[in-house]
């Protein structure tokens, strides 16, 4: 099976500060892979290195569907089919829900049938967004904004979806809904790279996981095994 994404010995620096000390990971077709780790472990850095939003790769390679993408401009990486759903959501607060979603389809022909179908798909997935179609993005609740950010990423019709902390600042019941949606999105075959502080929720939906600590991968296993792993349970889930 060919990997959708393959990272080989990636080093990343913010100026003088080394954030990643040579990490390697891969995502196969249709997989949900999660990156676990505390604050400052390098999870978000890994995502921004992949999408090219910050420059700082000092060594190593990133391959997307067999093609080397490090050094490529971020808008081109987005165009190749990597959608990055940002931490803190970053929706367009003054634009309406529908306008936000249509911005997601920026690189596609807005009048095509496919885009209309995808809009329907997003509205089916999150009926709440359909109800608030004309409302300004900034007036939505946190959970709705997360749905919007997810929906906007889906409108890119990506081949890989990267989610950064989708549960951040949301009530448990809302988190449940978001993760149900993530599961459903993945069932359509879309591979997902998930960064999440809520380790339990992440491992519930993921196939595999990598554990990051201060910029290095210290472990990787199937989600099932990680859920049982003593170290993980103690370090990240506060369980004995």
């Amino acid at each position: 099976m060919e990997n959708i994404l393959e990272i080989k010995d990636l080093h990343f620096q913010y100026g003088e500060i080394v954030a990643l000390h040579g990490i390697s990971l891969s995502i196969g077709e249709g997989e949900i892979v999660t990156l676990l780790g505390g604050n400052g472990a390098g999870k978000t850095t890994t995502l921004t290195a992949i999408s090219g939003l910050y420059k700082g790769i000092t060594a190593g390679e990133i391959y997307f569907m067999g093609e080397k993408i490090n050094g490529t401009a971020p808008h081109k990486i987005a165009g190749m089919g990597i959608a990055h759903c940002f931490e803190g959501r970053r929706i367009f607060s003054q634009l309406s829900v529908k306008e936000n979603l249509m911005m997601g389809a920026y690189l596609r022909s807005a009048k095509s049938k496919e885009v209309a179908d995808d809009l329907e798909y997003v509205f089916d997935l999150f009926p709440r967004l359909k109800e608030r179609e004309k409302q300004a993005g900034g007036t939505l609740s946190g959970g709705e904004q997360q749905m919007l950010a997810l929906g906007r990423a889906l409108m890119q019709k990506p081949k890989l979806l990267m989610l950064d902390e989708p549960s951040l600042g949301l009530a448990p019941i809302i988190v449940e809904g978001i993760f149900a949606a993530i599961k459903k999105i993945n069932e359509s075959g879309l591979p997902i790279l998930l960064v999440e502080q809520n380790v339990n929720a992440a491992l519930e939906v993921a196939n595999r996981g990598y554990v990051l600590e201060t910029g290095s991968i210290v472990g990787s296993d199937t989600a099932e095994n990680l859920l049982k792993d003593d170290l993980i349970r103690k370090s990240y889930m506060g369980m004995e």
Binding site: A73, A78, G79, R90, F92, S93, Q94, L95
Partner: protein, 334 residues
């Protein structure tokens, strides 16, 4: 086109009424001059809206671009004998090119860094036109600029100037509307709203920021050329830093991201300037007061004030109508 007309019917009606009124007033040549200047400044304020209102890039150096348009159009005609209409177009193109060049470094800056760069740009242009005496005439400026000639129609009076300029303003507004409604406009708005997200959605942020600068500069350069041909005389004082502040004040006062806002802002501020001509020493102070007034009391400008007022009235009316309906229903039941 139909949708455009129905959506902007009040703006258009207002425009037609204003045009009629102005045509009457313009019988006096002084009024005609003021009306022509309204149009010129409205083009500049509109160009700033493309840059600041839609793309979120601030410029306090547009007087520099205005100067480039004015001087290059005038010099092309006087020194090289280029027909005036062609000079006007070339002047606009030269300004667009210089705008794009300055945008390449400028587009990497945001907020106060960008505004400082643009202030510096305005100052540099001001210095150049002041001291490059052999070409620009230095502080004396350029005199005897010929009339604009539009396909044989010589614009040799302020009244004719006013008409031509307002027609050009209408074209500029239409172009702006077209750009904003297009994919390019979407990219501009996405960049203003959230640059990182825009990049993540596949928008080439740098390219569109430079494009916004070029479009804005082209419009301002065009206005500069019109100014030169209208007045027949230009000198550095028209293009100093205060002028850049005036342009920005016009936009903020009128209201950003609307068609009518910059036009109204330009008219109000210019009227103000004419009425209080005697206080010219304090002009900078007055603009600053205007800007504070806008920022504190109606941050969305006159147009924003009008819109929120309209929404409030509509709400009140619909409430009243509902109350009457409910009252009526109750009465019927009784």
């Amino acid at each position: 086109m139909k949708a455009f007309i129905s959506k902007n019917k009040w703006t258009l009606l207002l425009l037609i009424a204003a045009t009629a009124l102005m045509l009457v007033l313009a019988q006096k040549t002084y009024y005609a001059l003021i009306i022509a200047l309204f149009g010129i400044y409205a083009i500049v304020a509109t160009s700033l809206d493309v840059l600041f209102g839609y793309t979120g890039q601030i410029s306090l150096g547009h007087a520099g671009l205005f100067a480039i348009g004015a001087y290059s159009s005038a010099l092309l005609t006087i020194k090289f004998g280029v027909p005036s209409l062609l000079s006007l177009v070339l002047g606009s193109a030269i300004t667009a090119l210089i705008g794009a060049l300055i945008a390449i470094p400028a587009s990497k800056l945001v907020k106060h860094f960008l505004s400082l760069l643009m202030i510096a740009f305005g100052q540099i242009i001001y210095l150049i036109i002041n001291s490059w005496t052999e070409v620009t005439g230095g502080s004396l400026g350029i005199m005897n600029i010929p009339y604009l000639n539009v396909f044989g129609f010589e614009v040799n009076s302020n009244l004719k100037g006013a008409i031509v300029i307002w027609v050009i303003l209408a074209i500029v507004l239409l172009v702006k509307h077209r750009i904003i409604r297009s994919r390019v406009g979407n990219a501009f708005i996405a960049i203003r709203e959230n640059t990182v997200a825009a990049r993540g959605l596949g928008i080439d942020v740098q390219k569109y920021k430079v494009l916004a600068f070029a479009v804005s500069a082209a419009m301002t350069g065009l206005a500069g050329g019109l100014y030169a041909f209208l007045r027949g005389f230009i000198s550095p004082e028209t293009f100093n830093g205060t002028q850049s502040v005036l342009f920005m004040t016009m936009l903020l006062f009128g209201g950003i991201t609307t068609l009518a806002g910059p036009v109204i802002g330009a008219i109000v501020l210019l009227l103000f300037k004419e009425v209080f001509q005697t206080f010219s020493t304090y002009q900078g102070l007055i603009y600053a007061l205007f800007m504070l007034l806008v920022l504190f009391f109606f941050p969305n400008g006159i147009i924003g004030l009008y819109k929120s007022g309209k929404t409030a009235v509509m709400k009140l009316l619909s409430k009243r109508a509902e109350a009457t309906r409910n009252g009526g229903a109750e009465n019927a039941e009784n």
